[in-house]
């Protein structure tokens, strides 16, 4: 019994000794500064040392990575990514596509060439995998199936429930109906049958190949770089799928209904007004009768 008491006492003393050391460590930043001070100073130093505006922007982008803006309204807290200079609120976290081979190099906002439609194309890149428009069946008669894949891990998943929820929201109060388009956590992409499984055209193997290329860039000469780039992009079609490939009533390239789009939405998507807007109305002016007071002076 005495031995037991002794052991308990010793353990208690050891615990107090550990606590004393921890307490000294805990108090250190409270007396001499705060945790992260050095890190913050280092980051600011980097910013100060960056030379050109572009270098400064690069350092700033890195330092702002993951930065959030939180607005507390008392009855609701709006937590959203911080985008410098943005006036309107976003209200949702931007879901990165961690699974796509293309996005791993080209990013989430890849389109830039066509000034008129680049934003629209980037908008599509939010819901549609790059392969959908940029890789098309080469052999006549070959057709691909389309499925949703998870932006998080690339798994082929069921049609998003959100598509039905959007539809249901229209049954509610029309004046205060705010359907949230695009919160699917998934994208549409072509898939092929491999054995008993359906797999994406660019899977994990291709992604690893591209990642290896990026890490080995320094060890490759300029010809070798071009060679590998060519191999990575060899499936890419010369001409991408055009808007009317999908936005047409007769035979849309993407089978919307099979992908879970409700009938009303299918009609919206296959209605050509959006396509027509882009192609026909390059000089479309909003009439002034829609803006009371303007033009009456």
């Amino acid at each position: 019994m005495n031995l037991f008491k002794k052991i308990v006492f010793k353990l208690y003393v050891i615990f107090l000794m550990v606590f004393t050391v921890w307490y000294g460590h805990f108090m250190y930043p409270l007396i001499f500064g705060f945790e992260g001070k050095e890190m913050a100073a280092e980051s600011l130093k980097d910013l100060g040392e960056a030379g050109t505006d572009h270098e400064k922007m690069f350092v700033k982008l890195i330092s702002e990575h993951g930065k959030k803006s939180v607005t507390d309204l008392g009855y609701k807290v709006i937590d959203q990514p911080y985008i410098e200079g943005r006036f309107h609120h976003i209200g949702f976290p931007i879901e990165p596509d961690k699974a796509s081979l293309c996005v791993s190099c080209h990013g989430n906002v890849p389109h830039d060439n066509s000034k008129e439609v680049r934003s629209f194309l980037n908008m599509h890149a939010f819901y549609v995998g790059c392969e959908t428009c940029h890789i098309q069946p080469k052999e006549a008669g070959e057709s691909w199936r389309f499925r949703w894949y998870s932006k998080e891990n690339g798994d082929i998943i069921d049609n998003p429930v959100a598509l039905v929820e959007i539809e249901d929201s229209y049954k509610e109060d029309a004046a205060h109906n705010y359907p949230t388009y695009g919160k699917y956590g998934a994208k549409i992409a072509p898939v092929i049958q491999k054995g008993s499984e359906l797999v994406l055209l660019s899977g994990e193997k291709e992604k690893k190949f591209a990642q290896r290329y990026v890490t080995e860039l320094g060890n490759l000469n300029s010809e070798q770089k071009s060679q590998i780039k060519k191999v990575i992009h060899q499936k890419v079609s010369k001409t991408p799928l055009q808007c009317d490939g999908c936005h047409q009533e007769k035979d849309p390239y993407i089978p919307y209904a099979a992908l879970g789009y409700p009938p009303r939405r299918v009609v919206e998507l296959t209605n050509t007004s959006v396509v027509g807007m882009i192609e026909k109305y390059k000089e479309f002016y909003i009439p002034s009768f829609l803006s009371p007071g303007v033009g009456n002076e």
Partner: protein, 369 residues
């Protein structure tokens, strides 16, 4: 409608090409409206047809990420919901849009400001701002150096929200009280008038932003070391956060003084922030007492409350006395704390090894022999 149509045709001319274009416009507009879902109040042009899509974005020529998505629900949660998109984005009159000009918040919009029955504008705010330390012009109306550092509206404000509250049964609660607003809606039945009025008024009765958000807004510039260097300013945000006020706000208090409470004279417009050298400033040495003793703060406090330097920057060159006092206090605190911690540690060590000694006890050794 017929009259309007004929006026429209007369305005644009009778040119056949133009007529065709307008017919196309009319057909297209009709499509847009019939295609529309229930957009937000100000979206007469159905801009959300495209702008409701989350990924509508591009990288601009300067490498900045531009997101054109509009969250309708959040847009409808603030005073701007009564504006049409084109009230602010006046130069967007073409689809696809040309790169748009920066929005000018000083332009008049279509809302009528009821007290003066004139078109609403933020012009008065600009006039106030120009009297403040944040004015880009000096007293003679000449541009101050480092013009790019002086804030425009968007540097401090994003799209404003309503922060309504109620105290229907005495207790302050965030949000709209259904019971409270039902009293308005008994008479004001048309549209969202009652909601607008209720949310607008109750938001204005308290801070329209949570204090921490105000501090973060000021910190964008005032915590930037290069900015401080350019304008010879102290790191006031960091030092503020070390004060009681700063710590209370960090812990979630909404009652504690944030930057605006101390730097704006009670009753003045919040945009009138003056430097501490200006005699009308809230932080001018003779006015600090009055600022601390305003009705919402330390009303009954003695004048001495304001006699200390509120948030000190411990800069050795600028404030040597404060710097060495801080070093002294820190050293004292460290000595006392670590001395006693060491003492406790050694005491515990002794309890763990009660007979341990570095020195051999000769007496004991002799006894053993």
């Amino acid at each position: 409608m017929q009259v309007a149509h004929s006026v429209l045709i007369r305005d644009v001319g009778m040119n056949k090409h133009v007529m065709t274009k307008w017919i196309a416009v009319f057909v297209f507009s009709f499509c847009m409206f019939s295609y529309s879902n229930a957009g937000f109040a100000g979206d007469e042009l159905n801009c959300v047809l495209c702008h409701k899509h989350r990924g509508l974005s591009r990288i601009d020529e300067d490498g900045k990420f531009r997101l054109f998505y509009i969250n309708q629900e959040l847009f409808d949660s603030g005073p701007h919901r009564r504006n049409k998109c084109k009230d602010c984005h006046t130069d967007i009159d073409k689809i696809p849009h040309e790169p748009a000009r920066k929005v000018d918040c000083m332009q008049e919009c279509h809302m009528v400001e009821p007290s003066g029955n004139i078109k609403f504008s933020h012009k008065t705010v600009e006039e106030t701002l120009h009297k403040s330390a944040h004015s880009p012009l000096d007293e003679d109306g000449k541009p101050k150096p480092h013009q790019e550092d002086y804030p425009g509206c968007k540097d401090c404000h994003d799209q404003p929200f309503y922060r309504p509250f109620s105290f229907y049964k005495g207790e302050l609660k965030a949000g709209v009280s259904k019971r409270g607003i039902s009293r308005c809606k008994g008479c004001h039945t048309n549209g969202d008038f009652a909601e607008d009025f209720y949310e607008h008024i109750t938001t204005r009765l308290r801070k329209s932003r949570y204090p921490m958000e105000t501090i973060k807004s000021c910190a964008k510039c005032h915590q930037d070391p290069e900015f401080q260097e350019r304008h010879d300013l102290d790191d006031v945000v960091t030092t503020y956060m070390q004060t009681f006020h700063g710590k209370m706000i960090a812990l979630g208090s909404e009652k504690t003084a944030d930057c605006l409470d101390c730097h704006v004279v009670e009753g003045e417009n919040t945009h009138l922030i003056e430097g501490k050298e200006v005699i009308t400033s809230a932080v001018y040495k003779n006015n600090v007492q009055a600022t601390c003793r305003t009705s919402e703060c330390h009303e009954k406090a003695a004048a001495q409350l304001a006699s200390y330097q509120t948030h000190v920057t411990y800069d050795r060159e600028k404030y040597p006395l404060q710097f060495y006092m801080l070093v002294g206090f820190k050293a004292l605190m460290a000595c006392v704390l670590y001395f006693f911690l060491a003492l406790i540690f050694l005491e515990l060590l002794r309890r763990l090894f009660p007979c341990f000694s570095f020195i051999k006890d000769k007496k004991q050794d002799d006894e053993v022999e």
